[in-house]
Symmetry: C2
Subunit: 112 residues, 2 copies
């Protein structure tokens, strides 16, 4: 099955939610986790991910902590307090979007 497209705007929500669950993650880890959780359906490209992380950090939603593992640099990101609150809002918006789309495209949709 070809990988389905990532609707623009959903990447930030994905990042925030994963960090909310995991506590802290580094960029490469996020790309792998998304691939794993979606069985390869969604692939986060690095060209999208890193700028997104930098922006979320600049907006004060994420904090960074640099670590060195096996002589390689890792940048661990975690939610700030504002980031946690924002995550709640983004998830609510995503849920609302999904409900709206279901009403629009298929009122009888049974997504388990």
């Amino acid at each position: 099955m070809a990988n389905s497209k990532l609707y623009k705007g959903s990447l930030n929500t994905i990042i925030l939610k994963l960090l909310d669950e995991k506590g802290k993650m580094y960029g490469y880890e996020i790309t792998q986790k998304v691939k794993e959780l979606t069985k390869g359906e969604l692939k986060i490209t690095e060209g999208a991910l890193y700028p997104a992380l930098h922006k979320l950090e600049a907006e004060g939603l994420l904090d960074v902590e640099v670590a060195k593992v096996d002589n390689r640099i890792r940048k661990y990101y975690k939610l700030t307090d504002r980031g946690e609150k924002e995550t709640v809002n983004r998830l609510a918006e995503l849920e609302e979007f999904i409900r709206s789309m279901q009403n629009l495209v298929n009122p009888n949709w049974s997504i388990q």
Copy 2:
């Protein structure tokens, strides 16, 4: 409740599906229908809608038929054969996206 944001890429799917259901619709009608179906949650801006309709038409997915009602012009759009096939694909992609997002952001999500 504030209107939730439209994830970029979903507009085309919305247009195609509405036309699939209704047979034919004109632009303004689409904006009103979306507002109605989502109880004001999603608002299709004309600046996005009209270029999108023109592009779908240019791609051969829509046909246009101009009508005059009450001395006002209406442009009715309907799916071409290719448009119908494409609609099936887009809906499958949307469903896949939704499933992926559910796995990512909330494995226990009970939508509907």
